[in-house]
């Protein structure tokens, strides 16, 4: 929404013609930004499997899968200013559904992903209901309590791994791996598959941001009175945003389960949900680049550190400092700073003022 405001604010008053021009400019900028995203992700999908070794390609699969979940957090925080601290729990719920369906019913991978997305979407909507009538801080607390509850349940039940019964747990024999899509059995192919899913989800979110949903969210963020007087259905659009964020988490969980083959019940603590939020803010919540950076921070940076034998705990210190930095001085996150830097560079090269 930032680009609309920047282009519209002073010139909008000048006349209808200029307004049309400004709108057209904003629309073409949005289109260019979307095409850049597709180009960047295609480049990643083509180049990285050649460059990375087996260990790194696994890290990158997880990073891109988590980027899908981060996109959901960024949507809620960036568009509506809402803090959700249960995204990793929703991711776990999606992963559980995907694993259960894959092992129990041998459904095709794509259906498992969609079912996981739909389940987390529903849970996300439920989690969002209190936000309709409470202060923002309480939403953060409600979601944190849900994440805490999920942590307890999932570490007691674990994830399905091909066994009998409702929970699908294997007793005694070896745990089964989730079947990958027939199109993408190797790691490199699966990485491309995940990047394509990420591109689809990011495009879906961009589409929302540029259409009626995005305008309604912007009004709701401005204030409920403003939104109501402009005829926005607050219940519908706020719940929609929560559902979309939950969908992202569910898809992410299914993709992660497909990448690793199984999920570990101990890896879905409330702390992980808190971390997902923190790193999404660090990555940047106003630009599609943000979730990609957040995903890399969550998985690739720890891998990088262990490559260089640096303690992973130092990463926590760095992430904490980065979160404070993002909150205090750089609300657009790393993505915003990168985009700003690139724009400044382009201006210097072409010698053209903005």
């Amino acid at each position: 929404m930032m680009s609309y405001e920047q282009t519209l604010s002073p010139s909008a008053a000048a006349g209808p013609g200029e307004l049309q021009q400004a709108l057209a400019r904003a629309a073409s900028e949005a289109r260019r930004s979307w095409l850049t995203m597709l180009l960047l992700l295609s480049l990643l999908a083509l180049a990285l499997p050649w460059l990375a070794n087996a260990y790194w390609i696994k890290s990158l699969i997880s990073a891109m899968a988590l980027a899908v979940a981060a996109a959901g957090v960024a949507l809620l925080y960036g568009q509506l200013g809402l803090v959700t601290l249960c995204q990793h729990a929703l991711l776990g719920a999606g992963g559980w559904v995907a694993l259960r369906l894959s092992h129990g019913l041998q459904l095709p991978f794509e259906l498992c992903v969609l079912a996981a997305g739909a389940t987390s979407c529903l849970i996300g909507m439920l989690a969002g209901l209190p936000a309709l009538r409470m202060k923002g801080l309480y939403l953060a607390l409600v979601t944190l309590m849900m994440a805490g509850g999920f942590q307890v349940v999932i570490s007691a039940t674990g994830f399905p791994d091909g066994g009998e019964g409702w929970l699908g747990r294997v007793v005694g024999s070896e745990r089964l791996m989730m079947a990958r899509p027939a199109l993408a059995l190797s790691d490199a192919a699966y990485f491309r598959y995940v990047v394509i899913c990420l591109a689809l989800v990011l495009s879906l979110i961009e589409l929302h941001r540029r259409t009626k949903a995005g305008r309604s969210w912007a009004l709701i963020r401005r204030g409920e009175a403003a939104a109501v007087s402009a005829g926005v259905n607050i219940l519908l659009y706020q719940t929609w945003a929560f559902g979309l964020a939950g969908f992202c988490a569910g898809v992410s969980g299914a993709l992660l389960a497909g990448g690793v083959g199984q999920l570990d019940g101990r890896a879905f603590g409330a702390g992980d949900s808190v971390m997902t939020f923190a790193l999404s803010v660090v990555g940047g919540v106003y630009h599609w680049l943000g979730p990609i950076i957040a995903g890399l921070l969550m998985r690739a940076v720890p891998s990088l550190l262990s490559d260089y034998n640096v303690s992973g705990f130092l990463a926590d210190i760095f992430f904490g400092a980065a979160l404070l930095h993002a909150l205090i001085t750089a609300p657009q996150g790393v993505a915003g700073q990168l985009v700003y830097g690139l724009t400044a560079l382009r201006r210097r090269i072409t010698g053209r003022p903005a």
Binding site: G81, M134, G320, L323, L324, L327, I328
Partner: protein, 285 residues
């Protein structure tokens, strides 16, 4: 009913710590509008300091004092150096800021002391009250007494003293209070130091009752949030009562068939149920 009594008594110990943490959280929220996510991390680093000092045969009282002191100094450092930069933002962002601080403190603690769990022994462990066939160590009794005493003390401080009035004024409207001539930094100092002291004491108790491990203690603040939520981030007596009842319920849940593995979910379930029944004061302005 007789066979429930031992669980009830053993739940009092952890309940007291929830209550104490809840009071520590509510005090800071009421006086500065910040919900401190770093509460657990501050307690953890304090407990580690005590552990290290005891390891080098320092006198016990000095080790305990250093633990609380460390938490107070760190809390004050955040409150004076970083929190003011976010003071004009809404409470959610101010609270999320402490999350960054929590990560820094937790990361440092794990990096410096390692992730291996340890045990912190308090002198009050040795003696215990025998009550309904349960040994209630003096540590737990101390926790319970502290929770009640702190609740009363802080309640009086906030409602009866000059500084308490200033704290409430600041939480209500920071700019207006400054305009009226309140010494904002002085009040901030008191609030953050107090909250740090609570964190230090809770850290010591939890490191003893549960175990000494930075990540665990950092995120053990989450069930304490449940107690604070029940008190609507405002009422100290309700927070204490909620903290103790949550601890007791969690212990009683062992007796419910099939529920035992899920019993640590009790704080979250209770808090979620409570939120459903909240009325206007939690609503949007």
């Amino acid at each position: 009913m007789v066979d429930l009594l031992p669980f009830l008594v053993s739940g009092l110990g952890i309940g007291a710590v929830y209550a104490l943490s809840g009071v520590g959280l509510v005090v800071l929220y009421r006086s500065s509008g910040v919900l401190n996510f770093a509460f657990g991390a501050l307690g953890a680093i304090g407990a580690y300091v005590a552990w290290s000092l005891l390891d080098e045969d320092w006198p016990q009282w000095l080790a305990w004092a250093s633990a609380v002191g460390t938490a107070m100094v760190l809390s004050l450092a955040y409150g004076r150096l970083l929190a003011p930069r976010l003071s004009h933002r809404d409470p959610t962002i101010r609270s999320i800021g402490t999350l960054g601080f929590a990560l820094i403190v937790m990361g440092f603690t794990e990096w410096y002391w390692g992730a291996q769990p340890r045990r912190l022994v308090l002198p009050t462990d040795a003696e215990a009250l025998e009550f309904a066939d349960v040994r209630l160590t003096y540590t737990r009794v101390l926790g319970l007494a502290l929770a009640l005493a702190m609740m009363a003390g802080i309640g009086l401080l906030l409602s009866r003293t000059r500084i308490g009035l200033k704290m409430r004024a600041l939480a209500n409207d920071r700019d207006l209070s400054a305009l009226l001539g309140l010494r904002v930094l002085q009040v901030d100092t008191v609030a953050w130091v107090l909250s740090g002291a609570f964190a230090g004491v809770c850290g010591l108790l939890l490191a003893n009752i549960v175990r000494l491990q930075a990540t665990l203690l950092t995120f053990l603040v989450i069930p304490a949030f449940a107690a604070a939520i029940m008190g609507r981030l405002n009422s100290l007596p309700v927070t204490v009562a909620a903290g103790i009842s949550i601890g007791v319920l969690e212990a009683l849940a062992i007796t419910v068939p099939g529920f035992a593995p899920y019993r640590t979910a009790v704080p979250f379930l209770v808090a979620l149920a409570a939120i459903l029944f909240f009325r206007s004061d939690a609503r949007k302005a």
